[in-house]
């Protein structure tokens, strides 16, 4: 435990207040991430990014691409497309995939970064869409996905772990079911990356989207898409790539095909440094600590009269995100009071996941979501619980 304390104490001092909204964006960032951003900005960015005719290089993007490839155990760094985040990755995968006039399956636990592009395609009559439900913890039964498949199902889109209940899905089994029917699988790993050992080869995933600014401890504006070798997408952006400049059309070679425009190099430097931090610390170590924080949160909240946990089952695998509501206050009010009366940041509402709430008992107002990070202390959890205790039963009607 003392080693753990040493590691967490490396976090830079947080400003006044307690930050428990790490499922949105992690804070604070490890020192190496801050240093990487500063270093990236200390010299002309173009000089740090020499792209040749082959994509092998030592520039920020190449290093970051290789770091992501290592993180998810991709066979080759050219299977990694760098993007501006999970939303961009998912849009590239969904709008660029060859799924026109076919059937697509998704689930009720998805974030709007999946729901909206799919409904855009549905409303444009470009795809047919089935949305599979989930249980009260946000778990999607692979058999329900199998039952929803039709002869022309071409793609299954599912999150590795919901940004609301954080229940971990059975991705390997879903990929097995999909591939039996010659169907591809796109996984949204925005919450999972950095908290689960992801092995795209073992899972047999076709595409996997992630972002740098959550549990990879990078900064917003950088993400990636794993795109299995042999799978091709229609690029969404056409433009300069820093290589093959004489071609009047977008190069067909990866990574240039999908990475047009001036890159967010400080963002990719931060993502690479964040991945380095995660791998040096160890995903198992990070997860163990965050599981302990989750357990402390859950047990503490369960002991408070007037609190109802939502979508949580201690016997199931959840990432460190917990949802609840209070009998006496709307979720939005709870978030407001925590922020303004106690200086504690959480997230309240529907968390950009509009379909899951009917399944977990939080429709229509959503929930209060608490999400610690590796750097959260147990004292901060106790302070949060103390605030909730004060809030329960404090009302006077006038």
């Amino acid at each position: 435990m003392s080693n753990m304390a040493d590691m967490t104490s490396r976090a830079p001092a947080a400003p006044v207040g307690i930050y428990l909204n790490n499922a949105a964006t992690s804070f604070p960032k490890p020192p190496e991430v801050l240093e990487a951003v500063q270093q990236a900005l200390e010299q002309p960015l173009a000089e740090q990014e020499r792209v040749g005719e082959d994509s092998i290089g030592i520039g920020i993007r190449s290093t970051c691409r290789q770091a992501v490839a290592n993180l998810v155990n991709a066979k080759n760094a050219n299977e990694i497309v760098l993007t501006s985040g999970a939303t961009a990755s998912l849009n590239l995968a969904l709008l660029g995939a060859n799924i026109l006039d076919s059937h697509v399956i998704t689930t009720a636990v998805e974030h709007n970064s999946v729901v909206r592009p799919l409904h855009h395609l549905l409303n444009s009559k470009k795809i047919r869409l089935s949305t599979v439900g989930c249980d009260s913890t946000g778990w999607v039964d692979p058999d329900d996905i199998k039952a929803a498949m039709t002869g022309d199902t071409r793609l299954i889109v599912i999150t590795y772990s919901s940004n609301v209940t954080a229940r971990v899905q059975e991705i390997a089994e879903i990929c097995r079911i999909a591939h039996e029917a010659d169907c591809s699988v796109l996984v949204d790993a925005a919450q999972a990356a950095g908290l689960i050992e992801i092995d795209v080869q073992q899972l047999d995933v076709d595409m996997l989207a992630l972002t740098g600014h959550k549990s990879l401890y990078g900064i917003p504006g950088a993400g990636a898409l794993y795109l299995r070798k042999g799978l091709e997408l229609e690029p969404l952006l056409h433009g300069g790539t820093g290589a093959m400049g004489q071609s009047l059309t977008q190069p067909r070679r990866r990574p240039f095909r999908y990475e047009a425009g001036t890159a967010n190099l400080p963002g990719f430097a931060a993502m690479e440094a964040g991945i380095r931090f995660v791998q040096n610390t160890g995903i198992a170590t990070i997860r163990k600590r965050e599981d302990q924080l989750l357990k402390a949160l859950a047990e503490g909240l369960e002991d408070i009269e007037g609190v109802t946990l939502l979508g949580y089952d201690r016997d199931c695998e959840h990432l460190p995100i917990l949802n609840f509501h209070l009998d006496d206050l709307d979720p939005d009010d709870v978030g407001y009071v925590l922020q303004n009366s106690f200086g504690i940041t959480v997230r309240s509402g529907i968390h950009c996941a509009p379909l899951i709430h009917k399944h977990i008992g939080s429709h229509p107002y959503g929930s209060v979501r608490v999400s610690p990070s590796f750097f959260t202390s147990f004292d901060e959890i106790e302070e949060f619980l103390s605030a909730i205790r004060q809030m329960c039963g404090a009302r006077v009607e006038m």
Binding site: D332, D333, Y336, S341, F342, C352, Q390, V396, M398
Partner: protein, 110 residues
């Protein structure tokens, strides 16, 4: 007391809109209690910094932390003008009348 600014606030809900209403001075108990004439007022006194919430049926809610000079207005789409007008009237009325908190209530909340 007067309203000096109304700021836009991002939110997630489709049928309501949020704005932060900025007052020229901190909201004290007297002012909060005066807002109760508009609708149902709840006051959470047992907190480090008391929270209050006013619900005006079918129109808007207003919530804040006592001693802050900002309160969050949440209104139904298309009802901004009506909501803010009602609120401005209440603020002006308070400024004119400046009713002290009834002794019994002040004792109960102290």
């Amino acid at each position: 007391m007067k309203i000096v600014a109304v700021r836009e606030v991002e939110d997630c809900f489709d049928n309501t809109v949020s704005r932060d209403v900025v007052f020229d001075q901190p909201t004290d108990l007297e002012f909060i209690v005066s807002l109760g004439s508009l609708g149902r007022l709840r006051y959470y006194h047992n907190l480090a910094r008391p929270f209050w919430r006013l619900q005006v049926e079918d129109l808007f809610s207003l919530k804040g932390i006592q001693r802050n000079n900002v309160a969050r207005l949440v209104f139904k789409k298309g009802h901004y003008a009506e909501s803010i007008e009602m609120l401005v009237d209440a603020v002006n009325r308070f400024s004119r009348e400046h009713q002290p908190v009834p002794q019994k209530l002040a004792e109960e909340l102290s």
